[in-house]
């Protein structure tokens, strides 16, 4: 039921390396993952904050779910300490190697076995930046979705969503049932409370394997992932540009000759 009392919100969160602390190894040109702390993905944390604000105001029940290795338990504890009521960890070798499709399939499969009115995901994760998992989940579950959410108000009857667009924003109304993907800057997340931290490890994180998910195994993990990574490489630094201080006519000539030189125009 929505209307203030029994609203159930499912929040999808992901553990990601803190990309602000990632360095490139100068020799191998690959990411140095060693010693890089893992954090709750910022957009997802914004989504959890939005759900918790609804809990504070209207008494919504907030469940968090993540798919990842056993260490992802940490962000679920953090979610408990922020105020989440229930936490589920999807962890199984069968989930491994998942691209966005297999991930969204697994999360949707888990969501089918749970009760919820609203699903909230972050817009995108800072390690992949695809922004695909949330919208794909809504498609699998055949529910309406609003992406790039920067605000959500509820007046007792209607939910009004502020959706960020490139030009500005749109105000959309919906009945509170569906999926939202959320932008972190719009929802400055709260800190864990001290009391919440003390209780976080006394609560149970439910650990679910592939057998608990309502989905055919062929759609999970590497098997269910059409994305194949052919090659990965570190972006090479470009040469610094050259500044020509010439008048407009000379500049046109110069640009045309440079474009011809690079075979961009003939």
């Amino acid at each position: 039921m929505i209307g203030g009392i029994d609203m159930k919100i499912l929040v999808c969160i992901k553990q990601v390396p803190d990309t602000t602390e990632i360095r490139i190894d100068p020799v191998t040109k690959t990411l140095v993952r060693e010693g890089v702390p893992s954090i709750m993905n910022p957009d997802d944390k914004g989504g959890l904050e939005l759900a918790l604000r609804f809990k504070d105001k209207f008494g919504a029940e907030v469940t968090v779910i993540t798919m990842g290795p056993p260490q992802a338990d940490l962000i679920l504890r953090e979610a408990f300490a922020m105020g989440a009521d229930r936490a589920i960890l999807l962890t199984d070798r069968k989930f491994a190697g998942a691209d966005t499709l297999a991930t969204s399939n697994a999360l949707a499969g888990a969501a089918r076995t749970l009760k919820w009115d609203l699903i909230i995901t972050g817009r995108q994760a800072i390690d992949g930046d695809t922004a695909q998992v949330g919208p794909e989940m809504a498609e699998h579950l055949n529910i309406p979705q609003i992406s790039y959410v920067a605000g959500l108000e509820y007046d007792g009857k209607t939910f009004t969503v502020k959706k960020q667009t490139e030009e500005g924003h749109q105000l959309l109304q919906f009945d509170g049932k569906g999926l939202l993907t959320v932008l972190a800057p719009a929802f400055k997340s709260r800190y864990m409370s001290v009391g919440g931290i003390v209780d976080a490890y006394n609560k149970e994180v439910e650990v679910w394997g592939a057998d608990k998910v309502d989905l055919d195994e062929s759609k999970l993990g590497l098997k269910g992932s059409p994305t194949k990574v052919v090659k990965s490489f570190a972006k090479e630094l470009k040469q610094p540009g050259v500044i020509h201080e010439v008048d407009a006519e000379k500049a046109v000539e110069l640009i045309v000759s440079k474009l011809k030189e690079k075979h961009i125009i003939i």
Binding site: R77, Y191, S193, V194, G195, G196, I197, V198, D199, Y201
Partner: protein
């Protein structure tokens, strides 16, 4: 034996570190410059439960331990020593003594207000003529019917004017010396109580330090903390705990200064290379880091022992907290002085935080027992009665 923090303590460390970086650090220079009590930060800390860390949940606290409390003071002080001492004085010197010595009624009445941060607490022992020699108390408390009547002055009181509750030590029977001293709980709104002159200090300038004046201040009979004549013991036990807080404050200041110096010496170039590449820089900073880590271990060990003492009152952590405070405060003074030196002329300006840190560090060698008093406590424990 395990030197690792528990998962809970580690999660807490992450939270308080982030809180200090984002909410406390940006205000540190400003509150120092303006000598302003950080009321906005106090509100934020109250909301998170930082004022009730070691108080059980049944009294409205967070149900944490003294390791977590010491981490909180350390991390806050790493960014702002003023903010650290607000929490330390409140927790160690007012709230925890009520938890340890209060009646059930006092605990139920005061702990939820203090632990939630709705009320800030303070402690009054020092007088113009009674610092280290606390038996020379001139503040008196006389029982008159159902009320205690307090008269006298307390000085250098941390959180004065912002606290709603004061733990006050006063003489109830001068002929008994230390055994004639008792402890009382005085609410700020009590007639006959007022806050006097605010001190202008060298460091921790955002912290409110002022005089308390008792002029026929009448408090209910039930606001006696512990028994009559046990005030000296309560004060000494309270300071045993408080010294863990001040040691953690000193550690935080030292760590903050070291962090700033690492950053600065990597950026600052002289003779064509970063000064971090000079061996003198490296060797001196290796020593600073080693001393900081040693101080941290002493503090965590004392805090661990205090937690053990809650379960077993035969455990004493008095010398442990004195050693932690003595060492950490002297390390803080040494490290911050060297940090300023590494920063050169810039370090002497208020543009860089090490100048403030050096001023803040000095008080940790003085309050809640000077370094000399800590040596007395440690030696007393070492030699016993001579």
């Amino acid at each position: 034996m395990n030197f690792n923090l528990t998962k809970t303590q580690e999660l807490f460390r992450q939270m308080i570190h982030e809180f200090a970086e984002k909410e406390v650090k940006p205000l540190a220079a400003e509150i120092d410059e303006q000598e302003r009590f950080p009321e906005e930060t106090v509100k934020k800390m109250a909301k998170l439960g930082i004022f009730g860390i070691p108080v059980p949940k049944e009294y409205g606290g967070a149900g944490g331990d003294n390791i977590m409390y010491s981490i909180a003071v350390e991390e806050l002080s790493r960014c702002c020593a003023t903010t650290g001492v607000v929490v330390s004085a409140h927790t160690s010197l007012c709230m925890v003594p009520i938890l340890e010595f209060g009646t059930e009624e006092q605990k139920k009445k005061y702990l939820p207000k203090l632990a939630s941060g709705e009320w800030i607490g303070a402690f009054g022992l020092t007088e113009p003529n009674a610092g280290t020699d606390s038996s020379a108390q001139q503040t008196t408390a006389v029982l008159d019917g159902e009320e205690w009547v307090l008269n006298g002055n307390k000085i250098f009181i941390t959180n004065a004017g912002y606290a709603e509750l004061y733990l006050i030590i006063a003489m109830t029977d001068k002929s008994q010396g230390n055994r004639g001293i008792s402890a009382f709980l005085v609410e700020a709104s009590t007639p006959g109580f007022c806050v006097g002159k605010k001190e202008l200090k060298m460091g921790i300038r955002g912290s409110a330090t002022a005089e308390l004046i008792f002029d026929n201040c009448r408090i209910p009979k039930g606001n006696l903390l512990g028994q009559v004549g046990r005030g000296f013991r309560i004060a000494m036990k309270t300071l045993d705990g408080g010294r863990i807080g001040i040691a953690a404050q000193a550690l935080g200041i030292a760590q903050g200064a070291l962090d700033e110096t690492v950053k600065y010496t990597k950026e600052r170039k002289q003779f064509g290379r970063a000064i971090a590449k000079f061996q003198n820089t490296q060797f001196q900073m290796a020593d600073m880091q080693t001393k900081i880590e040693a101080a941290r271990l002493l503090i965590r060990s004392a805090a661990f022992k205090k937690d053990e003492a809650i379960k077993n009152d035969r455990i004493s952590y008095s010398a442990d907290s004195a050693m932690a405070k003595l060492y950490a405060s002297e390390v803080a003074m040494e490290v911050t002085t060297k940090a300023v030196q590494f920063h050169g002329g810039y370090g002497y300006t208020r543009e860089y935080p090490v100048e403030r840190m050096m001023r803040d560090a000095k008080i940790t060698e003085i309050y809640e027992g000077t370094s000399e008093v800590q040596r007395m406590v440690i030696a007393g424990n070492l030699f016993g009665k001579l």
